[in-house]
């Protein structure tokens, strides 16, 4: 690594100013866990890093709306703040459960939610969960803020449609007392590996039928991907061995899965088939 300009603005305006121009070597930095790895490998050689640390008072809180219909996560919130938040544990237990096998204690103490989204490594565990939960992302820009669904941020392998001067401010997750959600991290080489597949599922059960399911696949695809055809098929269906088989096949034919060092495409498809079925089954049984 070589020296670069490291700045820590205290206001959003200052931050925008420091990000001006279109030099890809000028970027925001959250916890820096992902950037440091890229810098050490010399795949990213920064000219300037704009730290968002000092924006924490506005960007770093977890809050719940008075009517309990939405939780807001500031972008500089660390994973460990999420993990230890009583509000999150109560309203979005799936998020807290996901933390248990996400990276490790030290990374969770430093990495931020904004950096996690913007990094766009398809193996990350939280993006599929956000997408399954229907999260909306609040993005600040000198031209004005905008709000987009989480799935719309991701374009491809380590690729987002965030603009150079975009700063993620907040993640908003709608709450729904009758929803059930789970995330399954499937590793194939060792317990502490990156996932070969990540499967996030949310649904509501009404009279034994699945309603408004969201099914998101990550890690095996080049970006976290909603399996919309499978979702449509599952909507209004009972969760039975036969329907699970059908949904498994639908997911496999819908997902674009390639071979890599964590498994061949065929094997990963098979894992999707089996583990999606198990996840749906478990959710259906959940109280």
């Amino acid at each position: 690594m070589r020296p670069f300009d490291l700045v820590e603005p205290a206001t959003l305006e200052e931050a925008f100013h420091l990000l001006e121009g279109d030099d890809p070597a000028v970027r925001p930095i959250g916890g820096g866990t992902a950037l440091m790895l890229m810098m050490k490998e010399q795949v990213f050689r920064p000219v300037r890093l704009v730290s968002l640390r000092h924006l924490a008072p506005q960007f770093g809180a977890i809050s719940i709306d008075a009517d309990h219909r939405m939780i807001r996560f500031g972008a500089t919130t660390s994973f460990s703040e999420l993990e230890h938040s009583a509000v999150v544990a109560r309203h979005l237990p799936v998020v807290v459960r996901t933390m248990r096998t996400l990276a490790n204690v030290r990374v969770r103490n430093v990495a931020t939610l904004g950096g996690n989204l913007a990094h766009a490594d398809p193996h990350l565990d939280l993006p599929p969960v956000w997408i399954a939960l229907g999260a909306q992302i609040v993005i600040e820009n000198p031209a004005g803020p905008r709000i987009v669904p989480a799935e719309d941020i991701f374009e491809g392998y380590y690729e987002t449609n965030l603009r150079h001067d975009d700063i993620i401010r907040e993640i908003r997750v709608p709450l729904n007392a009758s929803q059930r959600a789970s995330y399954v991290k499937i590793t194939t080489r060792s317990a502490h590996d990156w996932p070969a597949l990540g499967i996030a599922v949310r649904l509501e059960m009404k009279d034994g039928l699945a309603h408004h399911p969201r099914i998101v696949l990550s890690a095996a695809t080049n970006k976290p991907t909603r399996l919309v055809r499978t979702e449509a098929l599952a909507h209004g269906q009972p969760i039975t061995p036969a329907s699970l088989r059908e949904l498994g096949e639908a997911a496999v034919s819908e997902a674009d899965i390639a071979s890599d060092s964590r498994g061949s495409a065929d094997y990963k498809k098979h894992l999707l088939r089996v583990h999606l079925g198990r996840a749906l089954h478990a959710l259906a049984l959940e109280e």
Partner: protein, 768 residues
């Protein structure tokens, strides 16, 4: 000097057999233990290596200018610069085949081509990134079996080191990738196969893996005033001194090698690694030079041999194995390192710990365009054991004989000749197997399950010979105040040698082990030791230490006699020294030197009357749970039992056994250096997965059996590798027991299991 006759020890003082904590425990828990990693010298430069990105090719052009132009860069060096200080810059323990930097040709992706030196490491790194090279690419050979007969040659000719007479016949051999072929012939295998009731043949493969000590390779050279000091994370300081002195054409006494604690070694930090490079650079720069590799770079230094093994057995009506033939191809990578010795040592035990009259073994060290392969905890024994213990299990299954009973029926016992003809002695193979069976509750039926989750169990047993003949010398210095220093070249890399050696010395000298100071390897101060490798230290150095202590005791007795003190007065030696020198002065120095007997195997038949100083024996048992829908599996129970002779420090010993087994668990289920077109694709901890706490089996038992090595120090022998030997086949056999299908290649992955289940049809059962 004490004689080498090994007398029964005097009254034990109760030091041997105690589980004392490591002598350096407090230094390690406070972060103050000394590693080369921590060291820096005034004026020291940091080096960063520029490496080849292609696996095989000629260097057409090397552009060093941009790197030289970087502010703060002191020097950029390639092989021509090295030649100015070392005229013939090739090194290696068996073959002088490895250039200090690539010499006109690169032989593997990751090979060092040039080095940048700068005051600050980040400047050296930045500048190294600006070096570029143009190559004329050559076709590469990567697979050990292909390379055996290939027309692409990694080296133009073989260059065995002159120091090994048994390699002399290979000198100048051309147009081959086979660095060494070892062969063994016992009895008449052909005739026995012809007469056999059943003949079985199977092929196995093991994958390349890496030691990944958490302290990556690091060395510092300080050349000044016509002498050289190396501070290096090395397992064999004496070898480093001799080899560096040879390269420089200097006498040994101008080269000093110092080694503090090592942050792990596992066989990786043997022979020459960075030492020749930093030496040359320090001579050129006339300043101290340090090179510290990153974890990623370690994967370009050395690895464990991948191997392909063909094994064939003839069995008679009663279930006795009458003939076995094995062919082993070792993927040696681009430079021989110690591969030829692995080929030979693991070659002669490749038929397993069985009593077989007719044996035929061929073992080939093969050059390929990959990272050089060397020793890794077991010296090849875990690879051959994977083959022979899977094969053995398969035969038992086919014959419908219980796996344990079949092994017992064929086991090699003390007093019988091993494949080399050496009569087995002090190898508790039967006891180890019995204990594994007991801890596995082999007699009680296992609930295997019929649904989605299937259970199975397996056992395996293996053994290994020890590098021979090798020497250890120890020195004990008794100071005039009654305290004691122990001077040894054994490197404490975590195995606890400082503590065990102090216990041995303390036992003989009637001192407290904790009060002995162990002086770390410093070739100016500590005497010769062949190296901390291959489970040899407890036996070889332990014996040398015991002899040194006995020698010191004799000198104490002689001094007492000289002073007219009656033999049983029990005056402490400090008092004797005070009487002799009339003040607190003088020393009593005991020296011990040990080289075990050895009979060089016959070149044609591999036969020898004494092929190894002792036998290392390890057995394992495993239970697994498999999800037959996905192939996902868990090792739910792992039992490891070793024959280590007597325990000098039972607690440290238990830690060795468990650590070795977990390491091999990684080599069995997850670790695998993946290559695509000669390029390593997963050389970092992000992608090369070593075991973590969550990978531990729920039930994990490690034990040693009561036994005694007749000529070991207090009955002890080496233990650092024994429990690596049989772990893989025990797990593989358990998987086969659960689902009725066999995996022949390591590592054992969920995907491979699932593939085998599919191929066989779920619940398919060809063995039970």
């Amino acid at each position: 000097m004490a004689s080498q006759t090994l007398t029964t020890p005097a009254m034990p003082a109760g030091q041997v057999g105690r589980s004392i904590p490591r002598l350096e425990a407090a230094a390690k828990v406070t972060g103050r233990a000394e590693y080369v990693h921590n060291m820096s010298l005034p004026g020291m430069l940091h080096g960063k290596i520029f490496r080849s990105v292609i696996p095989h090719g000629k260097i057409k052009h090397l552009d060093l200018d941009a790197a030289r132009a970087v502010e703060g860069v002191f020097l950029v060096a390639a092989i021509d610069d090295i030649r100015k200080v070392i005229a013939h810059p090739y090194y290696g323990p068996a073959f002088h085949d490895q250039p200090i930097l690539a010499d006109g040709k690169v032989r593997y992706a990751g090979e060092p081509v040039a080095v940048v030196l700068a005051d600050e490491a980040h400047i050296a790194e930045e500048a190294a990134g600006l070096i570029s090279a143009e190559y004329e690419e050559l076709p590469g050979v990567y697979d050990e079996v292909e390379a055996h007969g290939a027309q692409v040659f990694v080296h133009d000719e073989l260059k065995p080191a002159a120091t090994f007479p048994d390699l002399a016949h290979l000198l100048g051999r051309r147009d081959t990738n086979v660095a060494l072929d070892f062969q063994l012939r016992r009895g008449d295998a052909d005739a026995a196969f012809a007469a056999a009731e059943h003949v079985f043949e199977h092929h196995f493969r093991t994958q390349p893996t890496m030691h990944t000590p958490l302290e990556p390779f690091v060395s510092i050279a300080d050349a000044s005033g016509g002498s050289l000091t190396l501070h290096t994370a090395s397992q064999n300081p004496s070898f480093v001194r001799i080899e560096i002195a040879r390269l420089l054409g200097w006498p040994e006494n101008r080269v000093r090698v110092k080694v503090p604690y090592l942050g792990g070694g596992f066989g990786g930090k043997l022979y020459i690694k960075l030492e020749a490079l930093v030496t040359a650079l320090s001579l050129i720069a006339r300043r101290p030079v340090k090179i510290s590799l990153t974890m990623q770079e370690q994967f370009f230094m050395v690895m464990r041999h991948a191997a392909t093994i063909r094994i064939k057995s003839g069995v008679d009506k009663s279930g006795r194995i009458t003939a076995r033939s094995c062919e082993v191809w070792w993927n040696g990578g681009a430079y021989a390192d110690i591969g030829p010795r692995v080929t030979q040592k693991a070659g002669f035990t490749a038929a397993g710990p069985y009593d077989i009259d007719n044996v035929e073994l061929n073992s080939y060290a093969v050059y390929t365009n990959r990272t050089p392969a060397g020793a890794l905890r077991g010296f090849g024994a875990p690879q051959t054991c994977w083959a022979y213990e899977t094969h053995t299990d398969m035969i038992a299954a086919k014959l419908g004989i219980d796996q344990l009973a079949f092994r017992r029926m064929n086991l090699l016992h003390d007093g019988r000749p091993q494949a080399t003809g050496t009569i087995l002695r002090d190898a508790a193979i039967d006891k180890v197997l019995d204990r594994v069976a007991e801890r596995m509750n082999w007699g009680t039926p296992l609930e295997r399950g019929t649904g989605r989750i299937r259970r199975g169990r397996g056992i395996a047993i293996g053994f290994k010979g020890i590098t021979a003949p090798t020497t250890s010398v120890a020195m004990i210095n008794l100071y005039a105040d009654g305290s004691c220093g122990l001077y040894i070249g054994t490197v404490d890399m975590g195995q606890g040698s400082d503590t065990c050696m102090a216990q041995i010395a303390a036992e003989v000298l009637n001192l407290d082990a904790e009060s002995i100071k162990v002086i770390h390897p410093d070739t100016d101060v500590t005497p010769y030791d062949m190296g901390t490798l291959g489970s040899r230290s407890t036996f070889h150095m332990g014996t040398a230490v015991r002899l040194a202590a006995l020698d010191a005791n004799q000198k104490i007795a002689a001094l007492a006699e000289e002073l007219g003190v009656p033999p049983n007065s029990n005056l402490p030696f400090s008092e004797l020294l005070r009487r002799k020198y009339r003040m607190q002065a003088g020393n009593i120095i005991g020296i011990g030197s040990f080289i075990p007997g050895y009979d060089k195997p016959d070149q044609e038949t591999g036969q020898s009357a004494n092929v190894t100083p002792f036998w290392g024996v390890g057995g394992s048992g495993a239970e697994v749970e498999i999800d037959i829908e996905t192939g996902e599996f868990k090792v739910t129970k792992l039992v490891n039992v070793a024959d280590v002779g007597a325990a000098i420090n039972p607690k440290l010993l238990a830690a060795q056994l468990s650590g070795a087994a977990i390491m091999q668990l990684g080599f069995t289920t997850s670790e695998n250096m993946l290559y695509r077109d000669g390029q390593l694709t997963n050389g970092s901890f992000a992608d090369y997965k070593i075991p973590c706490l969550l990978d531990m089996p729920a039930v994990f038992i490690n034990e040693f059996v009561e036994s005694r090595q007749h000529d070991g120090p207090f009955g002890a022998k080496g233990a650092g590798e024994s429990t690596t030997i049989a772990v893989s086949p025990a797990i593989g056999n358990a998987i086969a027991d659960a689902i009725g299908v066999r995996l022949m290649d390591l590592p054992l992955t969920a995907e491979a299991i699932h593939g085998a289940i599919l191929a066989a049809g779920i619940g398919g059962d060809d063995e039970h």
